[in-house]
Amino acid sequence: MPETVNIIKGCIAGNRRDQELLYRRHAPRLYAVCLQYSDNDEEARDILQDGFIKIFENLINFKNEGSFEGWMRRIIVNTALEKYRSRHNLYRVDDIDLIPEPDADPDNEDYSGLEAIDLLNIIRELPPKYRMVFNLYAIEGYAHKEISRMMKISEGTSKSNLSRARLILQKKVSLYTGMNKKVVNG
């Protein structure tokens, strides 16, 4: 199997086989990231396509410093962010008051029944603004200051969106695990 370095060289040279090989090798992982940031499958596919085009265009700038997978993931996340920015005026942020407090204590919850795909579905149910902040903070590890700059919001808004996202997620996780228990018991 060709080494990643050789594939990258081939991609830079415009070799279609290497480009396709790179795509086949990394697309499943990156598509999951796209789904994590998108409302629907079509939007996720758009992000993946645009992201891979940027990856191929910018491969020549990849300096072999750090993880190649991480570098690709950052491009995909930035593409998702651009997509979000272009649409964010269309989104309405749910009012936090309408979201009830979670009944369960997350520390005592048993999450063992939750599959990765369940977590993905839960995260995709979040309102876009909350989902974006939660993804950037909790999954990608950005600080609120960075998120505020990336999303063009204040740090306070970022923090509040994160807090609201967590509340919703806790509630939904509890519902999921509760439903699973019922199914198992029932």
Binding site: G10, R17, A27, R45, E57, L119, L120, F134, R166
Partner: protein, 439 residues
């Protein structure tokens, strides 16, 4: 509370860490055409860069030529007798630069009668400058100089008196040139020996997988061209050139693994066991001892495929993973040369066509530095026509000999090979250099 929040973050971070989901079928097919489309402007950028380089070099050559010309015009400075006497102690009134001047090598002494002024050294002859005004030489035509000893048909030009830096007195600029300034009897023919390393590139037409494989695994090897040319000067600016040149071009084809020791397994009656599709045409092996394998590609066509024959199990001797494709051409150019700047350093524009006859083609690989014959390329065009465009810098070492430097871009008008699957148009950049002798 913070820990609880971190808990939910951790749950999602870890839970989603290794999640993989196959993208919808056809996603890749939407990506690839966009990549291809966006890659095309590079070709335009390269062309633009080439043009920019040519213009820049032309401009520099023009400026350099102007500077040399100015230096020549100021090189033969004479002070009139009266002022010479007054400043004789701190000024050498006759300044001749050897490369600057004059005429008949045998009679190239200019003698002065100015007391105390050293006699100028003999100087090398150079071709007359058509732009200067000339007057007949006579012993009295210029005060302070005894031009006796020069033939009557020699001419002297006395330029306008101009003040020279640091001196208030006027000084003259004179230039002595051979007689017959209209140029009758000038050398019209020239013979030149030139050679050039060339870098060949190619544009491959074809969008299928095999075209992609061919394009990505072929690299041009350093090529060269050299020969004898002759030129006829139609007028002062225009000349036509032809000659006979030998050109060697080729390319390296990577990721084709070659092995030796196949002869015992060769049970075919065909004249070749392997065909390799390249942009330069189809390679047919004529060495029955060689076994070829395309590593992961589909460029090798053979009945001895991986599932039929394994070179490792048969203990064949691995040779190399690169094939070398070499072509030799005999080239007959027809080139027009237009002189844009006519100074000691001439600047020419060059353009024309060349007919290239294929005289040799071979395919080989290297084993421990020695060539190992593999076969030859079929389907090559026996006659190629190429167009050339370039510029020529010509530095006159003497009246008869000049040094040439000619950066040239060449584009082949007809495809390299007649293979239908892939069509290639090679083009090259060369830097021709050599000497010309005028007669």
């Amino acid at each position: 509370m913070v820990e609880k929040k971190a808990n939910i973050d951790l749950l999602f971070r870890k839970g989603l860490d290794d999640l993989e989901i196959l993208p919808p079928v056809g996603t890749w097919n939407n990506i690839y055409p966009v990549i291809r489309k966006r890659q095309k402007p590079y070709m335009l950028l390269r062309s633009a860069a080439l043009i920019a380089v040519l213009i820049s070099i032309s401009f520099l050559a023009y400026k350099w030529s102007r500077e040399i010309s100015t230096s020549l015009q100021n090189s033969f400075i004479v002070r009139d007798e009266e002022s010479t006497r007054t400043r004789i102690d701190n000024f050498n009134p006759v300044i001749i630069r050897q490369e600057a001047v004059v005429f008949n090598p045998a009679e190239s002494h200019v003698r002065t009668t100015v007391p105390g002024i050293p006699e100028p050294e003999a100087v090398t002859a150079r071709e007359s400058n058509q732009e200067i005004i000339v007057v007949p030489v006579s012993a009295n035509s210029y005060p302070g100089f005894n031009l006796a000893g020069h033939a009557d048909n020699n001419m002297i030009r006395i330029a306008d008196y101009q003040p020279v830096k640091d001196y208030s007195e006027p000084y003259g600029v004179i230039e002595v040139i051979p007689g017959n300034p209209a140029g009758n009897g000038k050398a019209r023919w020239s013979l030149s020996a030139i050679a050039s390393p060339s870098y060949y590139l190619k544009s491959v037409y074809g969008t299928d997988d095999i075209s992609g494989q061919i394009n990505s695994y072929e690299k041009p090897r350093m090529s060269y061209s050299g020969g004898i040319g002759f030129a006829y000067k139609i007028n002062d600016r225009l000349s036509v050139q032809s000659g006979l040149f030998y050109t060697s071009v080729g390319q390296e084809i990577e990721n084709i693994y070659s092995y030796a020791g196949f002869r015992p397994y060769d049970n075919t009656k065909n004249h070749h066991n392997f065909e390799v599709l390249t942009s330069g045409g189809m390679i047919y092996t004529d060495n029955r001892d060689v076994f070829l394998l395309d590593n992961g590609g589909e460029r090798v066509i053979t009945k001895f495929t991986n599932d039929v024959f394994d070179p490792a199990k048969a203990s064949l001797l691995y040779l190399n993973n690169t094939l070398h494709q070499a072509f030799s051409y005999l080239e007959m150019p027809l080139i027009l040369r237009y002189k844009l700047i006519d100074k000691d350093l001439d600047f020419n524009l060059i353009g024309g066509f060349s007919y290239n006859m294929l005289i040799n083609n071979s395919v080989y690989t290297y084993v421990n530095g020695s060539k190992y014959q593999v076969g030859e390329t079929e389907g090559l065009n026996p006659l190629m026509v190429s167009s050339s465009l370039g510029m020529g810098l010509e530095y006159n070492l003497s009246r008869k000999i000049s040094l040439n430097l000619e950066p040239t871009f060449r584009y082949y008008l007809n495809p390299f090979s007649q293979t239908q699957a892939v069509k290639t148009h090679p083009y090259s950049f060369g830097l021709f250099s050599g000497l010309s002798y005028r007669f």
